[in-house]
């Protein structure tokens, strides 16, 4: 949860509205510290940590995700993947400051559509000043609002560029950029608002999503699946071999993703404290368990534990722990990661061929399915009997139903928006898939006029 849990009042929620936090006289006695009368502190340690987290999450996308995906496609398409991620990041970062942040996190705290959308009051960050602040999970501690803006920017960017994996090697570049812009506006931003913003629908239902199991992974996983289905498969899919051209790049990409994920999960605590360390250690253990589980699963079912399997298992574990990072104990993280490793292996090896969709790089299989496993699993691992750190009023059964609801909302919302966005770009671009000849030549040459390897 990115927004503070409200400790007995709307004081902290109101801090997120356009009103800058004002320093109060610190004369009130300690007993009244919960109310707004106490001076709110901006701790430089928290700010430094958050800025570093921001930077490492950017590395997750550029070049982490880019290389992870790049190594998995054929040599003739690697530049297209790198460029789609690179320019996708660039585009979404600008849209975020233009209106994304405002629609996700600004606006009225009740009434109207506030359960789903914010407003344009912070268009181009108007009202975000050197003095304005954003709340953290600790009463009395705040961040400069700009820190929150830029940290959240990195989430918007990686979520959107994740979709590139589902449509790789065959989509028109302009159509993809248009699709990302539309989907970001109508799926990412509202999901971020619903889950992480005070008036948000799922936030108010008590959904647990520490760093974005629903907002990031299910959201992008389902969008990638829908886009892949509507785009159609690559030429030769299921008939000719389309093996990865350089798994060493994929390995390097995985390392960068894992590294950046520390900022993604642990930075989502918005402060530098003990719970941050909990989120960080969970982000080591869940992927470790996921990698081992996937490798073992492959060894048992197919005879070889592969390098691609190990790194895929790690990513599955990272995805699953994302919503649970600050709620789970270490045991829970290990189990959740291991379970995700096995279930995502099944999704990629069995579910995909069963349904025959060409989600080129398994965005749905790992982010979609892993996100669902993580979102539901969060309800369980948050249980204090398993070493978890739940919020007040936690009840495992009830929380599970809330998580399930948020999963269903995420799946439906993202799916419908992706469908409509694809229809729009197909109409605008006369089809979203490149010509057969272009696909055959490779997008590097046909779309970008370049060769990666000379």
């Amino acid at each position: 949860m990115q927004l503070s849990k409200v400790l007995g009042g709307a004081t902290l929620a109101s801090l997120l509205a356009a009103v800058p936090a004002l320093a109060q006289e610190a004369a009130a006695p300690a007993a009244e510290a919960v109310t707004e009368a106490a001076a709110a502190v901006v701790d430089k340690g928290d700010v430094a940590w958050m800025l570093v987290s921001t930077m490492v999450v950017i590395v997750m996308t550029i070049p982490g995700l880019a290389l992870f995906y790049g190594g998995l496609v054929r040599a003739k398409n690697i530049l297209s993947v790198l460029t789609q991620v690179f320019l996708g990041f660039s585009l979404i970062s600008i849209l975020w400051v233009a209106y994304g942040y405002s629609l996700a996190f600004a606006g009225p705290t009740e009434g109207g559509l506030s359960a789903f959308f914010g407003d344009f009051s912070k268009f181009f960050l108007s009202g975000v000043t050197l003095e304005s602040t954003a709340a953290t999970f600790s009463a009395g501690y705040e961040l400069p609002e700009m820190v929150f803006v830029v940290f959240q920017l990195t989430f918007a960017c990686i979520t959107s560029t994740l979709i590139v994996g589902g449509i790789a090697e065959r989509m028109k570049f302009g159509a993809l950029m248009a699709f990302l812009a539309i989907w970001f506006t109508f799926s990412y931003v509202p999901m971020a608002h619903m889950v992480w913003s005070g008036p948000g629908l799922l936030f108010n239902m008590g959904a647990y999503d520490f760093a974005g199991g629903t907002v990031v992974h299910i959201n992008s996983g389902v969008a990638a699946l829908v886009a892949a289905l509507m785009l159609g498969a690559r030429k030769g899919y299921l008939k000719e071999p389309i093996p990865p051209h350089n798994l060493v790049l994929t390995y390097i990409g995985t390392g960068l993703l894992w590294f950046g994920w520390f900022g993604f999960n642990a930075g989502s605590n918005l402060e530098a404290n003990a719970l941050t360390a909990v989120a960080l250690i969970n982000t080591v253990l869940a992927p470790a368990a996921g990698a081992l589980a996937w490798a073992l699963g492959e060894r048992i079912t197919r005879g070889h534990a592969s390098a691609l399997g190990a790194v895929s298992g790690a990513v599955a574990g990272l995805v699953a722990i994302t919503p649970a990072a600050g709620f789970s104990g270490v045991g829970g993280a290990i189990v959740l990661g291991g379970v995700a490793g096995v279930i995502c292996l099944w999704a990629v090896v069995n579910l995909k061929p069963m349904l025959k969709y060409d989600d080129s790089l398994d965005v749905f299989g790992i982010h979609g399915v892993g996100g669902i496993v993580g979102a539901l699993g969060t309800a369980i691992v948050a249980n204090p009997s398993f070493g978890g750190y739940p919020l007040d009023g936690y009840d495992m059964g009830g929380q599970f139903m809330v998580q399930l609801t948020s999963v269903i909302v995420a799946v439906l919302w993202s799916g419908v928006v992706a469908l409509i966005a694809m229809l729009i770009v197909k109409a605008l671009f006369g089809g979203a898939k490149v010509s057969e000849q272009a696909e055959s030549d490779g997008l590097d040459l046909s779309t970008h006029g370049e060769r990666a390897y000379n």
């Binding site: 071999p241 093996p243 090896v349 995909k352 299989g365």
Partner: protein, 112 residues
């Protein structure tokens, strides 16, 4: 003159080169190729997809020799390249009509 063309397993190249040097053969051209004969390929698995890889990596050697050396060269290659397992390769001997040394313009046997 003859052109001896041999398809061999890549791991046998050094043995073949040594065998031919001792026969006074002074040059060869090596190309990396893919192919299959009776040796079937293998399968590779990447996440959800299994690929049957039909073509195996091999090396193609081309050596231009005098008529009277051709058979010795072929035998030497065979002995050096053999492992006894399927996929060892084949040797072809073709008629070679003309040879020219580019640097000097020499032709015929003195250009070999």
């Amino acid at each position: 003159m003859k052109l001896v063309v041999a398809i061999i397993k890549p791991s046998r190249l050094e043995e073949v080169r040594q065998a031919l040097t001792s026969l006074d053969v002074h040059g060869m051209t090596v190309t990396e190729v893919k192919g299959y004969g009776r040796q079937k390929g293998h399968s590779e698995i990447y996440r959800g997809t299994e690929y049957a890889v039909h073509f195996l990596p091999k090396l193609k050697l081309e050596i231009a020799v005098d008529d009277d050396l051709a058979e010795q060269v072929a035998t030497a290659i065979r002995e050096a390249a053999q492992t006894g397992r399927i996929g060892d390769g084949k040797i072809f001997v073709l008629d070679l009509l003309a040879v020219t040394r580019i640097r000097t313009g020499e032709t015929g046997a003195s250009a070999l």
